[in-house]
């Protein structure tokens, strides 16, 4: 019996990010895991690395997916600065640029899934909105003087072609509606997140507060974009929250259905175990 995945550590340019590459035939999906505030790529997504393969008979889509565990500075770098860095990582993964001279550079994906936890959900949604707004601006410029319907058709065509906007979003306890930094109890179940909260830059903490203009702008912008272009799947999602979650505000954008996972807190909701396979089921196209 052969191991189902090959581990590649230290994706160039993204220190401590790594990939678990499926050895199956017909791989068509890249799943990018983005941890949250004070998180890390292995401990935040604990057990995805092994259980996705161990349960591959039950959840066969995992065999068709390469897993990328993205590492980034979640406690000192602002949300708006982190989004484009994630964007470059996604481009490198999608276009196989990180392989170097390896033959695996021939890998071609047709689907992209973002799995985000807490602040990771904010960074992902910011990336999606930046991408949307960038395309919108580019189309406006290239169609200067065109009438509104021609502009809409051109915009729809450009949006359809963008692989990031076509991604599926699977968000665990996203911090999009704010983080409860006034009470630290929720953080105590993850010591590293707790210490991160103690040592984090106040700038980043402020950006994740419920009153944050960064979060407010992201919400307004995403809801507006979805109203304009409801066909863009990545603008609308159903986040999964644990019960209880004492860390983030358990709410989402207009019209989005909230999913609940009773008995799992902010930090365990995204971790599959032998007793808790829901995260494995949740992350799929």
């Amino acid at each position: 019996m052969v191991q189902l995945r090959e581990a590649r550590y230290g994706i160039p340019g993204y220190e401590k990010s790594y990939a678990l590459l499926s050895r199956a035939r017909g791989i068509d999906t890249a799943v990018i895991f983005v941890h949250g505030f004070g998180g890390k790529p292995t401990s935040t997504w604990k057990n995805f690395q092994g259980l996705a393969d161990e349960y591959s008979e039950h959840y066969p889509w995992w065999a068709q997916a390469d897993m990328f565990f993205y590492a980034y500075d979640s406690v000192h770098t602002q949300v708006r600065a982190n989004a484009p860095i994630l964007g470059r990582f996604v481009e490198d993964v999608w276009h196989g640029r990180w392989w170097g001279s390896d033959s695996g550079a021939n890998r071609r994906y047709s689907s992209l899934i973002f799995a985000g936890h807490s602040e990771g959900g904010v960074i992902i949604r910011r990336l999606i909105l930046d991408r949307y707004q960038g395309i919108w601006r580019a189309v406006r410029q290239s169609h200067a003087g065109a009438d509104e319907s021609a502009l809409k058709r051109a915009l729809a065509e450009s949006l359809k072609q963008d692989f990031v906007l076509a991604a599926s979003l699977r968000l665990f306890a996203p911090a999009c509606m704010g983080t409860n930094f006034s009470s630290w109890i929720g953080f105590l179940t993850s010591f590293s997140a707790f210490v991160a909260a103690l040592t984090a830059s106040s700038v980043v903490r402020n950006e994740l507060l419920p009153t944050s203009t960064i979060l407010h702008g992201l919400k307004e912008g995403t809801e507006q974009a979805y109203m304009e272009s409801p066909q863009v799947g990545s603008l609308f999602t159903s986040p999964l929250f644990g019960i209880p979650d004492q860390v983030v505000t358990s709410d989402s954008y207009q019209g989005e259905e909230l999913l609940w996972d009773k008995g799992y807190d902010h930090f365990t909701v995204c971790k599959p175990t032998y007793q808790h396979v829901r995260p494995l089921e949740f992350v799929r196209k």
Partner: protein, 343 residues
């Protein structure tokens, strides 16, 4: 190259990038003798992981041996640790290297599968999956600057130095309270992950027994898993020195100090604290702390008695006593505190 050889070769490359290179990161740094010792322990620990991976067929034993044998820095690290009396060449953890006729070399047989106890394929796959989990957990936080700073501080600093580092009273370029705290969180996180991975077989077994998760095939050789996880625990715990009570005390004082910063005058907060304390007890036990059960009352006092006085809450079972941590020069580590077979 056969498919199996391709897999083991890529596993070894993963090990090199994720563990060996970071463990040898000290060679690019300007470190004093004490700082170097902690890094040297990490380098020798990497050799143990290479040996264990070879034993379970995660990579080819010969190739793993060659990788380590070719890394002069690992060998130098071992020599330095013995010369500085940080480890004793007689202790089991040091026996990844052997001496014959005055010549020291890595023990090649330690990197090879145990031919006397054949492991079936399904069990082997579970071991390899667990082993990869160990490597990912170690790579995440075990060999970075913050963790090494914490491990050096907690194990080597005398009381005055330790307290100065905690209080941010050290002015060295490399000194930082944030580094100390983050390194502490990393160390706890690493041991926590290692412990959970080691318990995963039991957890798997229980969930299958009670039918709470989709069915999975039985793993026929639990004894092989027990032996393997025991070896892993021995390998990882050496660098933490948690067999010394005074160092365990420092863990609880620092944890208490940090938790005390989040103090709230609510029942919820007071109830949350014992949960965290119990969890920390389990983690330090895994890391090699002895008699934690017997010392719970004392550790609780240290935990709830923040040295800054921010969270003075007396234990319900024992009167408050100021935390005391004896000073301990590094050389008393080589007194053969660890036992058992490794690697």
């Amino acid at each position: 190259m056969s498919e199996d050889r391709t897999v083991t070769a890529s596993n070894l490359e993963f090990f090199r990038a994720a563990i060996l290179e970071p463990a040898l990161g000290y060679t690019r740094r300007d470190l004093d003798e004490v700082e170097s010792a902690s890094w040297h322990l990490g380098a020798v620990e990497a050799a143990h992981w290479a040996a264990l991976g070879g034993q379970i067929g995660y990579f080819e034993g010969e190739e793993a041996y060659q990788l380590i044998a070719d890394s002069k820095e690992v060998f130098d690290a071992w020599i330095n640790l013995v010369n500085q009396n940080v480890i004793s060449s007689a202790e089991p953890w040091a026996k990844v290297v052997t001496e014959s006729g005055g010549i020291y070399q890595f023990r090649e047989e330690r990197f090879a599968p145990d031919r006397e106890s054949e492991i079936d394929e399904r069990t082997r796959q579970f071991l390899q999956q667990t082993f990869q989990g160990y490597l990912l957990a170690l790579a995440e936080s075990s060999f970075d600057d913050d963790t090494q700073y914490f491990l050096t501080s907690v194990a080597w600093a005398d009381d005055a130095e330790w307290n100065a580092r905690r209080a941010g009273m050290r002015r060295g370029k490399a000194d930082s309270v944030e580094k100390l705290w983050t390194g502490f969180a990393n160390a706890v996180n690493c041991l926590e992950q290692m412990r959970e991975l080691s318990d995963s077989f039991e957890s798997r077994d229980m969930s299958l027994m009670f039918g709470v998760s989709p069915s999975l095939p039985e793993i026929p050789q639990p004894e092989a898993i027990e032996k393997f996880t025991g070896q892993a625990q021995m390998i990882v715990s050496r660098r933490y020195f948690l067999s010394f009570d005074q160092l365990v005390n420092r863990y609880f004082v620092l944890a208490g100090e940090l938790v005390g910063r989040a103090r709230q005058d609510t029942a919820e907060w007071l109830d949350a604290r014992p949960g965290f304390f119990n969890h920390l007890c389990q983690i330090v036990s895994y890391g090699g702390a002895r008699q934690v059960r017997e010392r719970r009352a004392q550790l609780w006092d240290l935990f709830v008695t923040d040295a800054r006085g921010a969270a003075k809450v007396a234990s319900p079972t024992q009167a408050y006593e100021a935390p005391r941590v004896e000073s301990h020069p590094p050389r008393w580590y080589a007194q053969g505190e660890t036992s058992g077979e490794v690697g």
